[in-house]
């Protein structure tokens, strides 16, 4: 890995907002430009060489994603606009038709809005019940807590693999194994984990998985919906149109394509998917295990530095993910983030789309540092040095 591969890193910035989105290497940017400059055409449509090349490149990414998460079949990989769309498709395309009134879904209060709101809507619409798995005092999920939350009515567990504020890695293998024994399906929000840690959907036995390209070096507007073939095949499309049908004569005489195409109506984000393929190549070249190990080590380094400061409260010291949630004493999270921006240090402040987490943490807002493999100890030092200041509030004012 070379920081020179990332044009954004040529600026004088410390980018610690990787949980929101990651920076893109040249290979991704060039892959997108190459499509637009040299073989721009629609995929799956044309009889000419350029279109065939676009189709081939697009489909080769499906194969790469399949390999990357070790799916059984490339037809289990559906391209979407991002994890949010994937989760909405899973919930509104599958569970809406396979759950009944009073059936329960188990989530947690540290989920992202995308894994809470679609379930709330389903509760309002059809009377399912959204229940919460209690978190430990360190805001994590244990198998025991899952077991204790399951009732006869529990039909689905829908949780993040790694959460976006606390950054805890859930024991999903054990949870899924137990859930399956009870006939419960498991949806995994992989937005913060795929690209950070090895995901093997067969080994983990995941039923549905959602993740986004842009949180793993890829472009925005691309995501993946993975589902086990038999489940995915029952997912009702929410978009109908070109590219997903075989024939239509009348409302009673319609034939749709097989997976994955029946879930990819309309012209897809071809350039974005091709760019995503380059992102996967880049990650594979480094090795996902190396990325995980490096991020963990850098996280420890930052935590150790932060702990030396007198004025800081870290909420998630001992977790496996790449985020650090903190506040500076008597300084509102947003003021801290604005102060750090004066030093060109990018961190996020707020509730980070996890507004139910407030019930657990007892605080609404935090600053979040989120790490990726191009961050360095120099970045960490700049951050710690900037935070080692008892006039943060005053200096954040900009007057």
């Amino acid at each position: 890995m070379n920081r020179n591969d990332f044009p954004m890193l040529m600026q004088d910035i410390v980018y610690f907002d990787n949980g929101a989105t990651t920076l893109k290497p040249n290979s991704v940017i060039e892959g997108i430009c190459d499509y637009y400059s040299n073989y721009s055409s629609n995929a799956h449509r044309g009889d000419y060489k350029l279109s065939l090349k676009a189709s081939k490149e697009y489909e080769s990414v499906r194969e790469k994603v399949k390999e990357f998460i070790n799916a059984k079949d490339k037809d289990e990989i559906v391209f979407t606009s991002g994890a949010t769309e994937s989760l909405n498709m899973i919930i509104n395309g599958y569970f809406k038709y396979n759950l009944n009134k009073e059936d329960e879904v188990l989530i947690t209060k540290s989920e992202h809005a995308s894994n809470i709101l679609p379930w709330y809507e389903l509760e309002n619409e059809m009377g399912i019940k959204v229940k919460y798995i209690p978190l430990t005092e360190n805001h994590t999920v244990t198998l025991d807590n899952v077991k204790n939350s399951i009732t006869d009515k529990t039909k689905v567990i829908s949780i993040a693999h790694v959460t976006n504020v606390i950054g805890d890695l859930r024991p999903i293998k054990e949870i899924i194994k137990y859930a399956h024994k009870k006939g419960i399906l498991v949806v995994i929000d992989g937005a913060q984990s795929v690209g950070h840690t090895k995901i093997d959907v067969q080994n983990l036995d995941i039923d549905f998985l959602a993740f986004s390209a842009h949180k793993m070096l890829g472009p925005t507007g691309v995501g993946v919906l993975y589902g086990k073939y038999d489940l995915l095949d029952k997912l009702k499309p929410f978009k109908y149109g070109g590219g997903m049908n075989i024939s239509f004569i009348s409302p009673k005489e319609i034939e749709y394509k097989e997976l994955p195409y029946k879930l990819e109506a309309g012209t897809q984000n071809i350039a974005g998917v091709i760019g995503f393929g380059k992102a996967i190549d880049y990650i594979n070249n480094i090795g996902i295990d190396n990325i995980e190990e490096y991020c963990l080590e850098l996280r420890k380094y930052i935590i150790n530095g932060l702990k030396k400061l007198k004025n800081i409260n870290v909420y998630n010291e001992n977790v496996e993910g790449s985020t650090i949630a903190f506040n500076i004493d008597n300084v509102f999270a947003q003021d801290t983030a604005i102060y750090l921006d004066k030093y060109n240090i990018c961190v996020r402040s707020g509730s980070h789309c996890a507004k139910k987490l407030e019930d657990e943490l007892g605080i609404k807002n935090t600053c979040r540092i989120s790490i990726y493999f191009y961050n360095t100890k120099e970045d960490a030092d700049r951050l710690i040095e900037a935070l080692d200041n008892d006039k943060i509030l005053e200096e954040s004012l900009g007057v």
């Binding site: 509102f332 509730s351 609404k364 509030l393 900009g398 007057v399």
Partner: protein, 143 residues
């Protein structure tokens, strides 16, 4: 002309952030109330306003917000109580003009001039106007 140096601006802002004026709601039925929040950040205020005979008698607020939003709310409250609706709307209009780098009447704003440099931090413009625009909404609602 009313001029504040940087030191005084900081003192005003920090003082009003740490001990905001009229923080805490009364839930009194003679007040009208409303919420004002920034969808792009985390600032969120509940506001109460009492107007009698066209004069602002009281303003209260509560909520969580950054130093700029909280302090400007506090200073605005102090500035607007006792004014007629028309005077208050005129002050608010001039304050908005200052934040948006348009020509404005400095003599009307006094302590609110603490925010005259906020335009240099575009992300803070919304913070500096959140509270006063919440008050403006309520004044207009009272018509």
């Amino acid at each position: 002309m009313f001029k504040l140096d940087s030191n005084l601006k900081r003192t005003l802002i920090l003082g009003n952030y740490e001990k905001p004026f009229h923080k805490g709601l009364l839930k009194d039925k003679t007040y009208i109330s409303g919420n004002k929040n920034n969808s792009s950040c985390i600032d969120n205020f509940d506001i109460e306003l009492k107007i009698e005979d066209g004069i602002i008698k009281d303003i209260r607020f509560d909520g969580e917000a950054c130093a700029i939003a909280t302090s400007s709310m506090s200073i605005s409250i102090g500035k607007l109580i006792g004014k007629t609706k028309e005077e208050a709307l005129n002050i608010i209009e001039n304050y908005e003009k200052m934040i948006n780098e348009e020509k404005y009447d400095e003599t009307l704003l006094e302590e609110l001039m603490a925010y005259e440099d906020i335009y240099k931090q575009p992300a803070r413009k919304k913070c500096a106007t959140l509270g006063i625009l919440g008050i403006k909404d309520l004044i207009n609602k009272s018509k």
